[in-house]
């Protein structure tokens, strides 16, 4: 399948329409389905990594089309983050699947990254100011002078390399935006910790461990998705420090990603160094970050994977979260009908699709921007052992008769069953 710019624009127009249905007064909301935990009770705004994709994606569209609508979206998202910034520099509700919470990693750094990237294009200094306040606070909370690196939680030793990569990326952009190279000392510490946890050899050579509780040994869990999120920060570090070792590390991650792609163009959730795998859930919307890594490295995005992503777009314009959430806990659970979390489109995964598709869009555009066609739909899903009907309209998600999420409201309605 060859993806035309018309096809990309149509998908983007529908995705943008869906994202607008997810807006509340204080930002983009909605439920969260994730590997670590789900959040289907709090459905209010999250000032987390969703703002990375939203700000970068709309910035790409603004650059490529000059349509003022995209500039308004950028300004609105910037205002969300500024309004939700606490006195100490943290963002409210920045823990994604653990919301309501704050000091979310890598979420706050990712949101600041979005601010910094969009500020370059719009010339809006207030984004840089908010990002600088935020990153300064992250450093004050997470920097460990004894081990000369960033912990994942204050005063709790340990490294999460993919989060360090995001923080490193934000620090690079901050140094470039402000001309203050003192930020680069922290950048170097963060990105060098990513290299320390790269698998040197074996079938998963090049992959980055998920976690190092003792800051010395990787935990043997290799998530393709989180590995992909290390690629662009390594490329940026290579440029900023003019050192090829970071680019070489990114190349090795790409080898791992190519090696682990499934025949249908998705990726397993986890490859364990022991040889075992957690095959499910496989991301659909989240796959966009993996494909974005291919794009950043100047490689062609695997066609089967891009096709798999684009054909999954829901009638509402959103992209479903994944396949096989039911197999998180039960390895033989049926995939049909899908789990309710598989089907539910989540803002903090769809932002990644926005960033990818906007990045793939050629410039200048030969075609007129399309009027989005979206509609409500229903689908049978499994929810806690029962087959129910999942419905999405522009106003709400309905899960059978007992559970519903009104998109404009911060808390869900119904009884968890």
């Amino acid at each position: 399948m060859t993806v035309s710019s018309k096809h990309l624009m149509d998908a983007l127009a529908r995705l943008d329409a869906w994202l607008q249905t997810m807006r509340q007064d204080k930002g983009y909301g909605g439920p969260v389905a994730h590997w670590w935990r789900d959040q289907f009770l709090y459905t209010g705004p999250g000032l987390d990594w969703r703002y990375e994709g939203i700000l970068v994606g709309y910035s790409e569209l603004w650059t490529k089309t000059n349509n003022p609508v995209w500039l308004q979206r950028i300004q609105q998202a910037t205002n969300d983050l500024k309004a939700g910034q606490m006195a100490d520099g943290n963002f409210m509700m920045s823990e994604f699947e653990r919301n309501p919470g704050t000091l979310g990693t890598p979420h706050e750094a990712a949101a600041s990254l979005g601010l910094l990237k969009s500020s370059v294009l719009t010339g809006d200094e207030k984004g840089v100011v908010a990002a600088r306040r935020n990153i300064s606070h992250l450093i004050s909370q997470l920097w460990d002078p004894d081990s000369h690196g960033f912990n994942d939680r204050p005063s709790t030793p340990g490294r999460v390399p993919n989060k360090l990569a995001t923080l490193s990326h934000a620090l690079c952009l901050l140094a470039e935006s402000t001309g203050d190279t003192s930020w680069l000392d922290y950048t170097r510490a963060a990105i060098d910790d990513v290299l320390r946890f790269q698998v040197p050899e074996g079938q998963y050579a090049g992959a980055i461990h998920q976690y190092a509780a003792d800051n010395r040994h990787g935990d043997g869990r290799l998530f393709p998705f989180y590995n992909a999120r290390c690629v662009e920060p390594l490329v940026v570090a290579s440029r900023v420090f003019e050192e090829t070792k970071y680019l070489a590390a990114a190349e090795k991650i790409m080898g791992f990603l190519e090696h682990t792609m499934t025949p249908e163009g998705l990726w397993p959730q986890i490859c364990y160094l022991s040889g075992k795998r957690a095959e499910y859930p496989r991301w659909i919307a989240g796959t966009a970050d993996i494909l974005y890594a291919f794009h950043v490295m100047g490689r062609s995005v695997p066609p089967i994977s891009l096709e798999r992503l684009l054909t999954s777009q829901l009638p509402s314009g959103g992209f479903p979260t994944g396949v096989g959430f039911s197999r998180k806990a039960h390895s033989r659970a049926s995939l049909i009908p899908p789990d309710y979390r598989d089907m539910t489109p989540v803002t903090g995964w769809n932002d990644k699709v926005l960033r990818l598709l906007a990045s793939l869009l050629p410039s200048p555009l030969a075609d007129e921007w399309p009027v989005p066609q979206t509609e409500a739909y229903s689908h049978q899903v499994r929810m806690n052992g029962h087959t129910i009907v999942f419905t999405e309209t522009a106003e709400r998600f309905g899960y059978g008769t007992q559970w519903s999420i009104v998109k404009s409201e911060p808390w869900a309605r119904g009884i968890i069953s």
Binding site: L41, M93, I270, S274, K276, K328, P410, W411, I415
Partner: protein
């Protein structure tokens, strides 16, 4: 929705791991149900803990500009082992709804909802997490997912916490 908070000194365990997760769920369930009931006022009585106060503040932020036109008042008594009737720190007589958090199951009339939090089933899977932690991380992840799946259940199940929502002040049986 207005949220008023009263803290009580207790020997509350430090909020880490499953204890912290329990309180996330307790607060989420109270706020979600209060919002659904269109409460104008939520009066929260909680153990005195900085982490808990932060949890409440963030959730207060989610509802502080929202008015749903309702007038009901709710009292959420979240100090297990103490009674709102005998304590006298918060008057429940003018409340339309009362949340009660207990370590023990009890019979309540006019019950609207009941949740069991940090169920013993989840604790059993948690034991598996600790046993496999250092030697089989793939199995540990599977146990983690089983524990998460069973962490909160509606209705009564053997659990560390039970959260009840009932109408109006009625003496506990």
């Amino acid at each position: 929705m207005n949220v008023e908070v009263v803290t009580m000194p207790t020997t509350q365990a430090r909020l880490v791991g499953p204890e912290e997760l329990s309180w996330h769920y307790i607060m989420d369930l109270i706020f979600a149900q209060s919002y659904q009931l269109k409460c104008q006022l939520l009066n929260l009585v909680i153990p005195d803990s900085p982490a808990l106060r932060t949890m409440v503040e963030l959730r207060r932020y989610s509802v502080d500009s929202l008015t749903q036109g309702g007038s009901p008042k709710a009292l959420a008594w979240c100090v297990p082992g103490t009674s709102q009737v005998s304590n006298g720190q918060s008057d429940s007589s003018d409340c339309d709804y009362i949340f009660s958090l207990s370590s023990e199951p009890f019979n309540v009339s006019k019950l609207l909802s009941q949740y069991s939090i940090w169920t013993y089933k989840a604790r059993m899977w948690g034991l598996g997490i600790r046993l496999t932690d250092s030697w089989n991380i793939a199995m540990r992840d599977r146990f983690m997912n089983r524990a998460n799946e069973n962490f909160v259940r509606p209705g009564y199940h053997p659990a560390h916490y039970h959260l009840y929502l009932r109408e109006k002040a009625e003496p506990l049986a």
